[in-house]
């Protein structure tokens, strides 16, 4: 299934010695988003592009998150490309190996793997205004591209907690997204820091094998039942015979999940039944009143990501488990000490502490026309036009950038919406013979206002929690705060009026007014 074709940049004898490779489009990343972009480029007949990937394989999230129990939280029928349905999903919520295999197979089937440059971490990218091209430096050589698409992921760079003594720990430390499968956890005294989406999958998966497991919780999460089941062979056959059936199912799943938006973003009362469901789930699975209290969130359901699991509560109430709510004071070579003075012997430390979301590392590496990094421009909060373009960064498109995140449904839906938008932008450039396309600060401001307005009254702002959805100023800069079909509508075609275009061959100086 994995083709061996690999385009490595010509090895350069010294840094920057080899001539940069010229391409029309350079895409950073080869996860769900990068691959979708690559597939779309190929389908519109574009072959002059590369996918710059720091790792050695495609897949992104699903290549990196190999921890025990890793699976998607949105049904596979929906959490997959619309153009590449897979009748063979083994479960309603597939596990990491199947999703990764799907991405690898899809990359091969659409011929994008040949465009991947693996081992190419983008260390810097800069808009060269004279050449009207992006200069991209990677660990596999230099590239020059007319268009740069950043699909570097929003949940791709692990965050490590700032706990005194973490560096002195003598046992094994692993971040959930950097699982070391060579480290056998059976019989170990394991500590898991964090109780988010990854932890609720890891803990039940390893609890039966380990000697003891201490779960360090800062804030409890609302958890609802997971209606997971294997897909019957006859059903798979049927999907194969009647492809429309799977599409219809996808539609039903999509629509039913979209109902949640009413509660999350419009009428809080609609979340009540979901809250009741979560409460009943907790009551059914946890008898101990103290444990129950410790596992009961004090914020409105939906404010933080709603988790789905049938075995999380049983796992934290297992005979060898302990939920620790006292904050961690320090980590010692062989133990963890909490603020109440309790020291728990530990030999394996699992950091389920999430990712850099509101401070995307790639933003520090991309510099626009005035040489300022995206991160600097975004210091006051991430801004964009339609979550995809940024003024001062011509010919740059961001996939899964600001305000495209969704917790209630499939990210792939958002990714495909954005890719269609980029596709239309490229089509417009070709049709109008534009060398440069850049959005305006005014469009950006209008979009910021739109997001702020839509975010008003949502549970993410008013639900009484501090989540990774909000930036340090408390603004929603990560989530799309409305029905996802509204985002699709907004990105169906390029909003040409919000862009300044410079025709190919126009004198270089003229673009001054766009700034």
């Amino acid at each position: 299934m994995t083709s061996t074709t690999r385009t490595h940049a010509t090895p350069s004898p010294g840094a920057g010695a080899a001539a940069p490779r010229e391409v029309r489009v350079a895409v950073i990343g080869s996860g769900f988003a990068g691959l979708a972009m690559g597939i779309t480029l190929r389908q519109r007949g574009e072959t002059d592009f590369v996918l710059l990937e720091r790792a050695e394989d495609v897949g992104g999230t699903w290549r990196d998150n190999t921890y025990p129990g890793a699976a998607c939280d949105v049904q596979s029928h929906l959490y997959s490309y619309s153009f590449a349905p897979n009748p063979d999903w083994p479960r309603s919520y597939s596990e990491q190996p199947e999703i990764q295999a799907y991405l690898q197979a899809t990359a091969d089937r659409y011929g994008v793997r040949a465009h991947c440059v693996f081992g190419a971490e983008v260390t810097a990218a800069r808009w060269d205004d004279d050449a009207r091209r992006w200069q991209v430096w990677t660990t596999a050589g230099e590239f020059r591209a007319q268009v740069l698409v950043s699909a570097a992921g929003a949940l791709a760079d692990p965050t490590y907690p700032d706990i005194p003594g973490l560096d002195t720990f003598e046992g094994t430390v692993m971040h959930s997204a950097r699982w070391d499968s060579s480290h056998d956890v059976s019989g170990r005294k394991v500590a898991v820091i964090g109780t988010g989406a990854s932890a609720v999958q890891i803990v039940p998966a390893i609890q039966p094998q380990v000697e003891s497991i201490a779960v360090y919780q800062r804030t409890p999460a609302w958890v609802i039942p997971r209606t997971d089941h294997p897909v019957k062979p006859w059903a798979r056959r049927l999907y194969r015979l009647v492809p429309g059936l799977q599409r219809a199912l996808r539609g039903v799943l999509y629509a039913s999940r979209e109902f949640l938006v009413i509660g999350l973003a419009k009428r809080r009362a609609f979340l009540k039944p979901v809250g009741r469901l979560a409460r009943a789930h907790l009551h059914r699975q946890v008898r101990d009143p103290r444990l129950r209290a410790a596992l009961t969130p004090d914020y409105t359901i939906g404010c933080k990501r709603i988790l789905i699991s049938n075995d999380w509560f049983p796992a934290v109430s297992a005979p060898n488990a302990e939920l620790v709510t006292a904050g961690i004071a320090e980590i010692r070579p062989r133990s963890i000490v909490t603020r109440d003075g309790v020291e728990r012997p530990t030999d394996t430390l699992v950091l389920a502490t999430g990712f850099h979301v509101t401070d995307l590392p790639i933003a520090e590496r991309i510099r626009g026309r005035d040489a300022r990094a995206l991160a600097e421009v975004w210091a006051g909060g991430m801004v964009s036009n339609r979550s995809t373009t940024v003024a001062g960064f011509p010919n740059l498109f961001l996939l899964v950038g600001p305000n495209v995140g969704v917790g209630h449904t499939s990210m792939v839906y958002m990714i495909e919406s954005q890719v269609a938008y980029v596709d239309d932008a490229l089509r417009t450039m070709a049709a109008e013979g534009l060398a440069v396309l850049e959005t305006t600060p005014r469009a950006q401001e209008a979009y910021r206002e739109l997001i702020a307005r839509k975010s008003q009254g949502t549970v993410w702002l008013g639900g009484g929690c501090a989540s990774w959805y909000l930036d340090e100023h408390g603004h929603n800069t990560t989530l799309w705060p409305d029905f996802t079909f509204r985002f699709r509508k907004l990105t169906r075609a390029l909003d040409r009026e919000n862009y300044v275009g410079i025709p190919a061959g126009a004198p270089v100086r003229e673009q001054g007014e766009a700034a």
Binding site: E211, D288, R332, E343
Partner: protein, 317 residues
């Protein structure tokens, strides 16, 4: 790197496997090299949380390294599981609990002196251990605290609540077990916070001085235990009889505690124990019910610390 913390207490969680496939949830607090380990066994439909007040008063000694404290949930209680389905719970008996305690000792306290404390069914658990593993007593086990408990003959007391319960016919219990799911739901309708619930609990289990918080806390702990634990252990309690097998306990110092208002295991049970164990100290506590460890934790702690001092040959109090 050691920050501002003055001292820390080591704590670990352990799941002790039993020979018939159950897993017992145990909490071990204190230094592994402490001179003595105190192991506490809780009562019927309670959990190790029933020892929280006692543990709280012992915390300083634990932190000082003077003793190590082990608490565990009896099978089917708290976080401990029942035996695996491949080992059908054929005729669950209190003897089985004695074997469980032996397992806890073997795995968590394989060496060094031990002081055992048992409340109610936990006390019976210790008596069973003494009957089946007498060699442990004197050598390993250096002291025993028996709190609100009985050596047997619970059913013969027609007026005691324990006696009344012990005479519930087995058929009724089987029926109850079949409908356990429904009963559990009904039970959920009268939560511990319900005044009626607390009145019932207070009348049955507590003495005159018990505070409302105590009663609520006890009711919460009991509410968390399953109906199955209630039903499966009821006949076992009625069958418990170790009145003629207490020899091993004569070899160690024993402290016996009973409340004068105990309705489940009334005073005469402790009086009988004191007769069978002439060297034991019997403490009859006034205005106190069955939940003595919760109602008078300081008295229990004094007793435990006397036993600890005897076990190590030095005074830690």
């Amino acid at each position: 790197m050691t920050g501002t913390l003055i001292r820390t207490v080591r704590k670990r969680t352990a799941a002790v496997p039993t020979t018939d496939g159950a897993r017992l949830h145990a909490t071990v607090e204190g230094a592994e090299d402490a001179p003595v380990t105190v192991v506490l066994a809780h009562g019927w439909t309670l959990s190790q949380a029933a020892w929280d007040d006692v543990a709280g008063l012992l915390a300083d000694r634990v932190a000082d390294g003077a003793l190590r404290l082990v608490r565990y949930d009896q099978r089917g209680h708290g976080r401990s599981t029942w035996s695996s389905p491949t080992h059908p719970e054929s005729g669950l008996s209190i003897d089985r609990l004695g074997a469980d305690l032996a397992g806890v000792l073997d795995q968590l306290v394989p060496t060094g002196p031990v002081v055992l404390g048992g409340h109610s069914m936990g006390g019976m658990t210790i008596m069973c251990l003494s009957a089946t593993r007498p060699e442990l007593f004197g050598d390993r086990v250096r002291g025993v605290a028996l709190v609100s408990t009985s050596a047997g003959d619970l059913a013969s007391d027609p007026r005691s609540a324990g006696g009344r319960m012990a005479r519930i016919r087995p058929g009724v219990l089987t029926a109850a077990l079949t409908g356990a799911g429904l009963l559990e739901r009904l039970r959920g309708l009268v939560p511990p916070t319900h005044p009626r619930h607390r009145t019932v609990v207070r009348d049955l289990l507590y003495g005159a001085d018990a505070t409302d918080e105590m009663v609520l806390e006890g009711a919460r702990i009991m509410h968390a235990s399953s109906l199955r634990a209630f039903i499966e252990f009821l006949p076992a309690l009625g069958d418990h009889d170790k009145r003629t097998q207490l020899d091993a306990l004569t070899r160690v110092p024993v402290e016996i505690f009973v409340g004068d208002s105990d309705k489940l295991t009334p005073e005469r049970h402790s009086a009988h124990l004191a007769e069978a164990l002439p060297a034991a100290r019997l403490h009859r506590v006034e205005r106190t019910g069955h939940m003595l460890p919760q109602e008078r934790p300081e008295l229990v702690v004094d007793g435990v610390l006397r036993l600890v001092a005897g076990a190590t040959g030095r005074d830690v109090a």
